[in-house]
Amino acid sequence: MSPRITLLLVAVLLVTSVADSTAQDFDDRSATARVMTVLSVTATQDLNFGKIFGGVPKVMGNDDDDSSAVFSITGEASAGISVQLTLPEYLSLADGSANMTIVFNNSCCSIDTIGTATPSTVVGGFVDIDPRTSPSGVIVGSGGAANLFLGGKVLPSANQKAGAYSGDIVLSVSYNGT
């Protein structure tokens, strides 16, 4: 191959290289995402059975403004959420020396998806449902709030040790993309 031909090939390769290089360009379109309002849940009122007597069960409804458990949820208005309650089987004395059975029946929970209700006034959403199941279709209210109300029943034994008993009720909420 003559030097002239060789030089020509090199020149072609350089041009091609330059062409490849300059053929790259940038599209100004960018990836976008909108971060939804932070989902938050707060336990605003404990489920409070008050004072009871040994051997005498006591029921607390989910419609008691003063004593039903209340969880307040805030987040993206009208966004679908999943709710999951973890319920105790017993309440315990602070020193752990005695337990008391607590039960939750299949209608002791209500979810207010309007976000403005109290336990006694809830009408929109899910009324008297099973707290162990997470119903589909739960949303944060249009005002960015929802509430969950919970009742229960304690079953003290006849010789139940006197004192203050307590237990944790855990509510997990998450966006479900609906």
Binding site: V35, I52, I169
Partner: protein, 187 residues
């Protein structure tokens, strides 16, 4: 120039990557939350009742009734109640109509008047010091008041009565049972 464009390309790729990571990280953090609430209840102290002094008429004579006042410190019947301080209680006395000769073979009438009981919410345990300001004085033992509470140091029931022996009442010791039932009433 080419080098600067390549550098610009790299910057854009880096910027887009940071943007995407920054967009995704908050989503994964804020898309869920957990709250821990509580259930609570207080079990009241169990009620305890003891008969700390029997209603004692002492010696009596045939045909001569004998009354013991509910304020008699040594002879009135005394029931002592303990439990949850300030809790409301309901009281019910089951009273005998007769005392029975311990050896058997005879009975003696005993009557409880409409003012034969007092309830001392100070828990003093002493009928002789009872006063109206301490609770309910001289009330009907067959229908005890409804608003009774257990005082901070207990509550006592003092009881008097009248024994009515017959003219031919057989000598000997007579006795009968007085039963006091106490329940929390939620007040």
């Amino acid at each position: 120039m080419k080098a600067s464009r390549k550098l610009e390309f790299l910057y854009r790729v880096l910027a887009i990557s940071i943007f995407l990571i920054a967009s995704l990280v908050p989503l994964s953090v804020s898309a869920q939350d957990v709250a821990v609430g509580g259930a609570k209840v207080e079990v009241l102290q169990a009620i305890s009742i003891s008969s700390s002094q029997a209603l004692n008429f002492g010696d009596i004579y045939q045909g001569v009734p004998k009354a013991i006042a509910n304020s008699n410190g040594t002879s009135a019947g005394i029931f002592s109640i303990s439990g949850e301080s300030q809790a409301g209680i309901s009281l019910f006395l089951q009273l005998p109509q007769y005392l029975t000769l311990d050896a058997g073979g005879d009975q003696m009438t005993v009557v409880f008047g409409a003012a034969d009981a007092s309830i001392d919410s100070t828990g003093a345990g002493n009928p002789a010091t009872m006063a109206a300001s301490k609770g309910w004085q001289n009330v009907d033992p067959a229908s005890l008041p409804a608003a009774v509470i257990i005082g901070s140091t207990g509550t006592d029931v003092y009881l008097g009565a009248t024994a009515i022996p017959k003219a031919n009442q057989r000598p000997g010791s007579y006795s009968g049972e007085i039963v006091l039932r106490v329940d929390y009433n939620g007040l």
